[in-house]
Subunit: 239 residues, 2 copies
Amino acid sequence: MRNPYQQASAQVVPFPAREPEGSLTGLFSEATTESFAAGQSLFWEGDAAAGIFLIGQGMLRLYRSLSDGRRVITGFATKGDIIGLAFRSRYLCTAEALADVRVRRISRRRLGEAIDAQPGLRPQLLDAISDELSRAQDQILLLGRQTAEERVASFLLTMAEQAGPGQVLINLPMTRLDMADYLGLTIETVCRVLSRMQRDGLIAFRGRYDLSICRPRALCEMAGRQDWLEAPAARARVN
Amino acid sequence: MRNPYQQASAQVVPFPAREPEGSLTGLFSEATTESFAAGQSLFWEGDAAAGIFLIGQGMLRLYRSLSDGRRVITGFATKGDIIGLAFRSRYLCTAEALADVRVRRISRRRLGEAIDAQPGLRPQLLDAISDELSRAQDQILLLGRQTAEERVASFLLTMAEQAGPGQVLINLPMTRLDMADYLGLTIETVCRVLSRMQRDGLIAFRGRYDLSICRPRALCEMAGRQDWLEAPAARARVN
DNA sequence: CGTCACTTTGAAAGCTTTCAATAGGAGTGG
DNA sequence: CCACTCCTATTGAAAGCTTTCAAAGTGACG
């Protein structure tokens, strides 16, 4: 057994002065901003996972492919999202810019150091990854047991929520093919469902990529959600 | 600035004697074993997430439900699996024993303490959760873009791998309904695919719940996998 | 103003589901 | 030990939803 002094110095020396407690996103403030043009990839499925990215602007599609070209989009990442947190040695998916994107990058090593130095970061990291898993399981439920109508309705509501609380004006920066690959459908089915929704007055397109939700309640019912229905007061402000 | 001695003692006092570095599963050695009979639930979807479980024996189905009763099984947990790692305040799914199950339980608080006290646990936890996310995304690909045949073939191979490297004798402790809800199909479709596989000599049932894989290569092709095909040597030992 | 890529719509085909009936197995009780 | 019951599994036939194939429409861009 060492004496207390030795133990003390053994701890003091290898430990850097404890970093100021911050947020997960705060870690990226030390990084410079990188830009990726539409269509460019931040990384590819199967690549050695080196970096972790904070999206500052723009939107990315994250997808996995089968050898014959079939593709599933596992998610869209947007401003404020961190991608790469839950990867082991290799990236699980390809990350491709939908439109021009600005990101900040830190290394996995840097994240590990910060996690070791700042205990307050630990629950934040765990929560972030748990949310990611939660979304993945929502998607499993959607793909495994929901109809085309439910999937599209669900997607529109998610995009609306992302645009802001009670927001009914939505911008869809992705193509119909992206939506189809995200929802496990074909382009044509997505088109048909959207057309029917418009014909039935649930939504109204203004161009191909912008629409407004005319009947949120009906859309929620179609999606099989109770969320919006349970909080009419919150929506009343905006509608 | 404090002098080194004060700094040292300030660290020594609030920090409990550093715990011996161990494994994630090692944390459960302090817990007593609990038993759950077939059909019993460890916890329900939406419950406040209190505990984390290490499966010691038996198998569980983890599932989420829609309000109208449609169900998706997000996974089967078996001996050695830890469930509940990536949950925030509420459980994401219900965990139900397929057959009698023995588990050990620790609290979320305990996990948090251990993570803080034992830096070596941090990467283990991250890896465990990353694996869970990886499996979820595999399932998204399967549900979003694979045919019934591919899904069932994939499932059988997964069960075979779980039984052991190169194992061709499989036990399926779950019902056909469980398989269907896991694969996003109906009971009837699962039956039909299994029957056809048997008729074609890919598999041979011995009772309802046991089968052997007669033509692993063909099954891999059907599943659209390259895994087994790429490592014929590894299989040769066992076959 | 033409080209090209993406979107929309229609019609037919196909895979999976739904509906229905039969079969198989495990457990129970006479 | 066998009949009986119940639940799960299997199989068949028809229906349905989504896909596939095809063609026309739309819009951005040079």
